[in-house]
């Protein structure tokens, strides 16, 4: 099936997210606007206005009631999904680079940017999953990242840990109750920024992408690197597909970063790897610039990518995608 192009944004996309039913896609862009779209036909459901700067991040709670956003105007905001009403604004000294709800939607974390005089932090708020409720100003937790700034973070299964990826290529595991740093591992090449961290559906493992041109799957408990996917381009995003054992990687070198003249369009592709065997199995082209984010439909029916080119491309998987099996997978299925 041909991809659907969501062309409502005027500048580069920074993050795209499906809700848990997979029927809505939320998008944020440097154009300050949050978009909501029907995933099956690309029709625009609405926009959320209020941010005064580039948006870096978006997340939706597990019941599709509340939406969280963060951006360059140093605010993290909470919205009612249905009405677009702004429910809460939390202000900070620096940009919000990442927001994410806990699995039950009752906690929200934000990652704040580092800037002269301000260290990067991970802040947590308790959330009341009701649009009518008064949300708290009080942080329930604040983790200061004094070694290397955090670029991405999220809650583990049961919100036991907060896992963060850092600018220096390392991954940290924090106690999500106390904020204590339990463990830090140099998962990616030194000083190669971790650009994305996305969870498996049950959050016992996750995938990280890095400017070191690789993506890795780590175990949530041990932070052991279980899988490595090696590419030829800096990566901005990585996602794990349910149903089929694949991962989808997105990245590409921005034109201004390319020193040679032959900036092959082919670099701007979503790359599919087999999750277990770590072998590349296919590519999907289409974007005219780097892929800044890839998100997978929660039921594994498709994926969407947000590009530096200002477009969101929504793909529905065809039958061959689901039918494809390695010989040893077929053996296993027939056992």
């Amino acid at each position: 099936m041909r991809p659907i192009l969501l062309s409502g944004h005027e500048r580069a996309l920074t993050q795209v997210k499906y809700n848990s039913d997979g029927d809505i896609i939320f998008s944020v862009s440097k154009d300050h606007v949050v978009g909501a779209w029907f995933s099956h036909n690309g029709e625009r459901l609405g926009t959320y206005h209020g941010h005064q700067g580039a948006l870096w991040t978006v997340d939706v709670d597990p019941t599709s009631t509340l939406l969280a956003t963060g951006g360059a105007d140093n605010t993290m905001r909470l919205w009612e999904v249905k009405t677009g009403k702004l429910l809460k604004t939390w202000e900070f000294n620096t940009s919000i680079k990442r927001v994410e709800f806990s699995p039950d939607g009752r906690q929200l974390l934000g990652v704040t940017e580092k800037r002269s005089g301000h260290l990067s932090t991970i802040v947590v708020y308790e959330i009341i999953p009701d649009p009518e409720a008064e949300q708290t100003d009080e942080q329930s937790l604040r983790i200061v990242c004094d070694e290397s700034k955090a670029t991405v973070a999220g809650f583990s299964y049961l919100a036991i840990y907060i896992i963060a990826g850092h600018e220096d290529g390392s991954v940290s595991q924090y106690d999500a109750k106390t904020g204590e740093l339990l463990f830090n591992t140099q998962a990616h090449e030194a000083d190669m920024q971790i650009t994305d961290l996305q969870w498996a559906p049950d959050r016992t493992y996750f995938i990280t992408s890095s400017k070191d041109k690789s993506a890795k799957i780590l175990a949530t408990d041990s932070l052991e690197v279980l899988k490595t996917y090696t590419t030829d381009t800096p990566l901005n995003s990585a996602a794990i597909t349910p149903v089929k054992d694949y991962v989808i990687l997105g990245g590409g070198q921005a034109a201004m970063d390319v020193t040679t003249t032959s900036a092959r369009q082919g670099k701007f592709e979503a790359r599919f790897y087999h999750k277990v065997f770590m072998e590349e199995i296919g590519r999907v082209r289409g974007h005219f610039g780097p892929l800044n984010y890839v998100a997978v439909h929660p039921q594994g029916l498709g994926y969407c990518s947000g590009g530096e080119d200002g477009y969101v491309r929504v793909h529905h998987f065809d039958k061959p995608y689901f039918d494809f099996m390695y010989e040893v997978e077929r053996e296993q299925a027939n056992l």
Binding site: P62, P103, G105, Y157, A219, P298
Partner: protein
């Protein structure tokens, strides 16, 4: 002889994949067991939070 070499190489690749798949499935099983012991309902349900009105007291198990 070349063909024999190639066949051996192919067999090794398949063996390696078989091993990777078994390792992965065994690890996944251990993780699912762990989530069950921890009572991680949302996680075992693929991140879907069951609506409250769908729940009744009957779901409580007496041990």
């Amino acid at each position: 002889q070349d063909l024999a070499k190639k066949n051996t190489a192919n067999r090794q690749v398949v063996e390696q994949r078989r091993r990777l798949l078994q390792e992965w499935l065994a690890w996944r099983e251990s993780m699912i067991e762990m989530l069950k012991e921890e009572g991680a309902e949302i996680e075992l349900n693929g991140g879907i939070v069951k609506k409250e009105d769908g729940e009744t007291e009957e779901t409580e198990e007496v041990e």
